[in-house]
């Protein structure tokens, strides 16, 4: 997979921020959004409102995001149809993940939105057709005005930048979970695992898991392992260690009493 999001280096960031300081706003028109935060840090945007933009889809239908999220939560992703990079694999893996977890259209709606001003609703319909999703009412493929896209980009931390050399947009691959008009979770990366989508769907349903682990290396025995498919913490090897004292004690006690029983019996014989 050739990543559209590439060269996220410190040097570039410094260069960009310097450029931002020096350049006039007009010169920055090439990049929309704040690339410095790439990929977007979920914590910054969590529970922040999403602008209620108008999505135009083919044939000549227009729907507000709020109409959708009032019905059910939304999984939203931003792509462009001429994308030669991450967009297609992202959509394919999202489609596969959705098919494996189920519930699309019943528990949530999927919105695939183009950020490219050149894309038209019919281009998007073509993409849907290509993905064999045009008949699936759970999926909405559409476009929005450049202004609305800019608002959406600001609210979600998404960004895109035109690269003249490849004649492609550079942009992060992300899926945004939206519940009641607010951001619940981000899925970052070009491959969407069913487990992660399931997690987002749970979160969007309002299910609450009161804790989650931080990635740590070389942890000897974990007590519990979080299982996103079920949304539960499952006993891990460490839990076995918790069972050892009780089990060993029972076995040890039985052993002591058995050992002494021989002794008791021997004593009885002796005395009789």
């Amino acid at each position: 997979m050739r990543p559209c999001l590439s060269h996220i280096g410190v040097i570039l960031r410094i260069a960009l921020s310097t450029a931002a300081l020096l350049a006039s706003p007009g010169a920055m028109a090439q990049i929309v959004g704040e690339k410095a935060d790439s990929p977007p840090n979920e914590g910054r945007y969590l529970y922040k409102p999403v602008p209620d933009i108008l999505v135009h889809s083919w044939p000549e239908e227009a729907v507000r995001l709020s109409e959708l999220w009032r019905e059910r939560p939304i999984l939203l992703t931003l792509i462009f149809t001429r994308c030669a990079g991450v967009c297609s694999p992202l959509l394919r893996s999202l489609k596969a993940a959705i098919a494996s977890i189920g519930g699309a259209g019943r528990e949530y709606t999927l919105v695939v939105l183009s950020f490219d001003a050149r894309d038209t609703p019919s281009d998007m319909a073509g993409l849907a057709e290509h993905l064999e999703l045009s008949k699936d009412r759970a999926w909405i493929f559409g476009v929005a005005s450049a202004e609305d896209i800019a608002r959406l980009v600001r609210a979600t931390g998404f960004w895109f930048e035109w690269e003249e050399a490849s004649r492609q947009y550079d942009h992060p691959a992300m899926v945004i979970g939206i519940r009641e008009g607010r951001i619940v979770r981000f899925l970052i990366g070009g491959t969407v695992s069913p487990v992660r989508v399931q997690e987002v769907v749970r979160e969007m349903r309002g299910e609450f898991v009161p804790a989650y682990p931080l990635p740590r290396r070389n942890v000897l025995f974990r007590c519990f392992q979080y299982d996103p498919t079920s949304g539960r913490w499952r006993p891990d090897w460490g839990f076995l260690l918790l069972l050892i004292p009780g089990t060993m004690t029972i076995l040890g006690t039985v052993w002591i009493f058995r050992r002494e029983r021989k002794h008791r019996a021997w004593e009885d014989r002796e005395s009789s």
């Binding site: 009161p210 942890v219 974990r222 007590c223 260690l241 009780g246 060993m248 029972i250």
Partner: protein
């Protein structure tokens, strides 16, 4: 003196003398450590009352560690020694093992004194992982080593002791008999004294607690030896609280053994095992494994079923205690031709303290309440209630009984009542300040109270007055009983 069922005639002569000497030594160690550790507790309240403003806070925390671990250890060994003595009526524990345990205990105490008072090792008595490895520049590495080493020594000594007592019971009873399962079926033969039943239940729990401690130590050493591994903080927390909870819990139960065995001698009524007693203590044996979950309510990562199980187990475990032990104590005393001595008074008050502390504990074991009471002064409030006004009184009651038995001198009834009164006024007064502090959101384990919880300073000051009253009671008690134990020791030696 009450009659005893003696195992064999040999037991009466030399053996009894030796057992008395051994028990007397244990009691004197206990009675020596008690006032010292009590003064360390008073020192903590003095610091909290802002009366030593120049003291460095790390001294408070080092003393806190010593006070906590010292008290927990002292009453555990005291209870073990007392119960061993009681059990000699029925079984033959090894004296050698008991002496070894005494040696291990003294060695452990010396190491603990060094780690805390020289090394300023301050982690609290249950050394919550990974705090021992984060000294923040206060204690040197050797202190952590010495601490873990002293725990290992105490652990090994006490485990052998517990195993030996269990072995002694096993020599005379089958496991089913010792757990009085035949009573549950409705049979009453062979007769199982309550002391045997409750001790068996306690020792089995104790061993599981010690095993948890072994796992903690092994995991700590593994991490510390530079294997590159870190431990799961949640796993360590579970193990630590299992160990801590069990150790404290069984000290209580061993204290109850003393009540079951000694109090009837003063009320003139028997206290025998029956079906309900058997059911109650077997229930306890089962539930004690789950009650510790209530220490982890504020760890939201612990699965919910464990939290719910923790509250249910904590609630239910109070039922056998209340319906069997406490109700039966009242029944034992009600309208009896009671001999109110220092021993019987303290034991009776001890059961009352257990009941009151139990109520406070059940309140705190409610998850919704724990959200606001966890690690406030409510926690020391409730555990001091069932320690100081519960098991400590039971043990002091036993020591008084023991002193009376071996010295064979009549006691001063007035002094006994005075001591009991000082204990009640001083003890409950001191505790009330913890409860009030908990109700007013004052955190536990604070050397200095910050602006937000300044009221804690006043509570500490009031508490000091009550501690003085309590200490006076303790001094009088030591004069009365300590003398007797010492005298008994000399008599037994000369004879």
């Amino acid at each position: 003196m009450a009659e005893r069922t003696v195992v064999s005639p040999v037991w009466l002569g030399m053996e009894q003398q030796r057992w008395r000497r051994l028990t007397s030594t244990w009691m004197m160690v206990m009675l020596l450590l008690f006032p010292i550790l009590l003064l360390l507790g008073a020192f903590m309240r003095i610091v909290q009352a802002n009366l030593l403003p120049t003291l460095l806070p790390e001294w408070f925390y080092a003393v806190m560690t010593l006070h906590g671990l010292g008290m927990v250890g002292t009453w555990f060994v005291g209870a073990m020694a007392a119960v061993s003595y009681i059990l000699t009526q029925y079984v033959r524990p090894s004296r050698k093992v008991s002496w070894t345990a005494l040696g291990a205990t003294l060695l452990g105490v010396v190491l603990l004194l060094a780690t805390t008072l020289v090394g300023r090792f301050g982690v609290g008595w249950y050394f919550l992982y990974p705090l021992p490895f984060y000294p923040a520049g206060i204690w040197p590495t050797w202190a952590t080593w010495a601490f873990l080493f002293s725990l290992a020594i105490l652990g090994v000594g006490w485990t052998i002791w517990a195993v030996d007592l269990l072995r002694a019971i096993a020599q005379h009873y089958s496991l089913r008999a010792a757990l009085a399962w035949h009573y549950i079926r409705g049979e009453t033969e062979p007769e199982i004294p309550p002391a045997v039943l409750i001790t068996t239940v306690s020792l089995i729990s104790a061993l599981s607690g010690f095993l948890a401690a072994v796992i903690i130590l092994v995991l700590s050493f593994l991490e510390w030896a530079g294997t590159g591994f870190t431990n799961d903080a949640l796993l360590m927390k579970n193990l630590i609280f299992f160990f801590g909870h069990v150790l404290v819990n069984i000290t209580m139960y061993l204290g109850v053994v003393l009540v079951y065995d000694v109090l009837p001698r003063y009320s003139g009524r028997p206290w025998k095992t029956n079906r309900i007693v058997a059911i109650a203590w077997n229930t306890v044996l089962f539930l004690v494994l789950f009650a510790y979950f209530h220490h982890l309510y504020m760890d939201f990562v612990q699965p919910q079923w464990m939290q719910v199980l923790g509250q249910v187990a904590s609630y239910l475990i109070s039922v056998p205690a209340a319906v069997v032990t406490i109700f039966s104590t009242l029944l034992l005393v009600y309208g009896a031709s009671m001999r109110w001595t220092l021993s019987s008074l303290l034991m009776y008050l001890g059961v009352m303290g257990w009941a009151i502390g139990g109520v406070a504990a059940v309140i705190d074991s409610t998850i919704a309440v724990n959200l606001r009471f966890h690690n406030t002064l409510w926690v020391p409030a409730h555990f001091h209630t069932y320690y100081l006004m519960g098991v400590v009184l039971m043990l002091l009651g036993f020591a008084a009984h023991f002193g009376l038995e071996v010295s064979e001198r009549p006691e001063n009834g007035r002094l006994a009542k005075l001591i009991a009164a000082l204990f009640v006024i001083g003890g409950y007064g001191f505790l009330s300040m913890f409860y009030v502090g908990g109700a007013h959101s004052v955190p536990r384990r604070y050397a200095v109270y910050p602006q937000e919880v300044m009221q804690g300073v006043d509570y500490a000051r009031i508490a000091l007055g009550f501690i003085a009253v309590l200490f006076l009671g303790v001094l009088l008690y030591l004069w009365e009983t300590g003398r007797r134990c010492a005298l008994a020791f000399r008599t037994s030696e000369s004879s």
